[in-house]
Assembly symmetry: C2
C-alpha cells in the first residue's frame, strides 16, 4: 500500500504541515520507502517534485517542507512498490496534458489485468499498473470529450463510471486533478477533512508537531485535506465509503458519487 | 533573449558547475530575471524544476546547485520574457509524452505568426510562442511517425526540416530531447564543447569558480555541454553556424544538419 495526500483550497495555501506528517510515513513511521512525489498547481502551471529515495531521508522533501509553496490544488504520494521497480519513471504522481491543461494522477492499490485495457493517445513511460490506468482514463476521457464539456457535471459522472471500472479490478484509491477540481476515489481507504473558521489547533499523528491554524489563516480560508489515513489525531476526519468518488473545488466538496 | 544550457553525457554526470554559471545570468550578471527551469533525465524518468522567480535568488536553484543530480541528458533555460507573461506555465522547458517517452523543449527567440501553425493532439498550457512551437513540432512528428521510426536518422532529418520551417519565422535557438538524444538548433547563437580525457581545469565566466575536471571524472567520461554563450573563458567552445541542427548522444556529436 502507498499513501496519498491531496489538498483543495479557496486561496493559495501551503501544505507544509500535512506534508510533514506524510513524509514520516516514508521510511520512518511507515514502510513507504520506495519514493515519493508531489505536484503543486500554480495558476495553469505545476511545480512537480519526484524522488525515488525514501521521503524521510530526501533532501528534496526537506526543501518542500521548508519552502512553503502555496497552491490551490496539491496531489502527493509516497510509494511502497508492489508492481514496477523503484525508479523515477515509476514514481507518482503521473502527469499528462489534455485540453491544454495539466492532469495529474496518484494511485494506491493493485489492479488486476489493467495492462490489458487498450490505450489510445497516451502511453505509459514507466512500468506501473497505476500509470497504465491513468493513460487509459485520459484516453477514454479524450475519446468521450474531444473538447472540454461545457457542464463539468458530465465529466464528473464520466470519471465516476471509469473509476467504477477500475475498482472492479482490485484496490483503487486515487487522487486525480484536471487543474480545476480534485477528484478523490476511495476503493478501500481514504479520509478527508475541511478546515474553516473558527480554526483550531491540529496535532500530527506521525510527528511531534502542532499547528494553530487560527494564526496561519484568514477567516475566509477554506481548505480540504484528503489522505489515506487521518494525519492528525485531534480533528474529525470523514472516512470515505468504498466505491465513492468525491469531487472538491476551492476547498469545498462539490459532489459525491457512490454506488 | 533567454539563455539555454544542455548536456549530453555517456555516464550520469552532474551539471552543477555549468548550472552555477548559467544561474548568475538570471538576474546577476545577466538580465534573465523572468524564471528558469531544468529537466534532468534519469532512466526513462525526468526530474523537473521550474521557478518563475529569478534564478540568482531562487531557493530551488540553490538546491539544484548543491544537490548534485546526475544525469545523461539535461535541458535548462533561463528566461527574459518577451512574449507571454511571467508565470509558472510559461516557464521552459516544456514537456510532453510521445511514444511513451518524455520529450522536453526549451527555446530562445521570437517566432512570427507561430500561433497560426495548426496543432493536433498537443495543446499549449501557457501562452508563449515557444510552447506553441513545441506542440506543433510534436504534432507533426506524431503525424509523420505514429510509431517510433526504426532508424533514428529518419527522425533526425524530419526534426531538421521542422526546425528550418520555424527558423524562417524569426529567431529559433532551441534544445530538444526525446529521452535518447539531445537536439540543439542554432538560429542565431549557440555554442558547444566536448570534455574528455585528458581533462583540465575550467573557469566560469560569470562567477568566481574553477573546477578541475581531472579530479571529478574517470578517463572514460565524455560530456558535451551546449550553451547560448560559452560558460567558461579558458576552453575552446565551438560556435554553431546559424541554421544548423546538431544531435548529440552519450556525450558525443552524432550528426549535424545545415543548409
Amino acid at each position: 500500500m502507498c499513501e496519498l495526500l491531496g489538498m483543495s483550497a479557496n486561496v493559495p495555501t501551503d501544505i507544509c504541515f500535512s506534508f510533514t506528517g506524510l513524509m514520516q510515513r516514508g521510511g520512518k513511521t511507515g514502510p513507504h520507502r520506495d519514493g515519493w512525489g508531489i505536484v503543486f498547481y500554480e495558476g495553469c502551471g505545476c511545480r512537480t517534485f519526484h524522488d525515488p529515495n525514501p521521503s524521510a531521508e530526501s533532501e528534496i522533501a526537506r526543501l518542500v517542507q521548508r519552502y512553503a509553496i502555496k497552491s490551490r490544488i496539491v496531489v502527493s504520494h509516497i510509494r511502497r512498490a508492489n508492481r514496477g521497480r523503484v525508479c523515477l519513471e515509476n514514481t507518482h504522481p503521473f502527469s499528462r496534458e489534455l485540453w491544454g491543461r495539466h492532469w495529474v494522477f496518484a494511485h494506491n492499490g493493485q489492479l488486476r489485468g489493467v495492462k490489458r485495457l487498450p490505450l489510445d493517445l497516451y502511453q505509459p513511460i514507466g512500468t506501473t499498473d497505476s500509470e497504465h490506468a491513468f493513460c487509459w482514463l485520459l484516453s477514454r476521457i479524450r475519446a468521450e470529450f474531444p473538447e472540454p464539456p461545457r457542464r463539468p457535471a458530465a465529466l464528473w459522472r464520466f470519471v465516476y463510471t471509469l473509476s467504477q471500472a477500475l475498482n472492479q479490478r482490485g484496490v483503487c484509491n486515487f487522487l486525480l486533478s484536471d487543474a480545476r477540481h480534485l477528484y478523490a476515489h476511495c476503493g478501500t481507504q481514504l479520509s478527508w477533512l475541511t478546515r474553516r473558521a473558527p480554526f483550531g489547533e491540529a496535532r500530527l499523528t506521525d510527528a511531534d508537531m502542532t499547528v494553530d491554524f487560527q494564526r496561519e489563516t484568514t477567516p475566509d480560508d477554506v481548505v480540504t485535506v484528503v489522505a489515506t489515513r487521518p494525519l492528525t489525531d485531534n480533528e474529525s476526519w470523514r472516512i470515505m465509503l468504498p466505491g465513492t468518488l468525491a469531487i472538491f473545488s476551492a476547498g469545498e466538496p462539490v459532489t459525491t458519487f457512490s454506488g
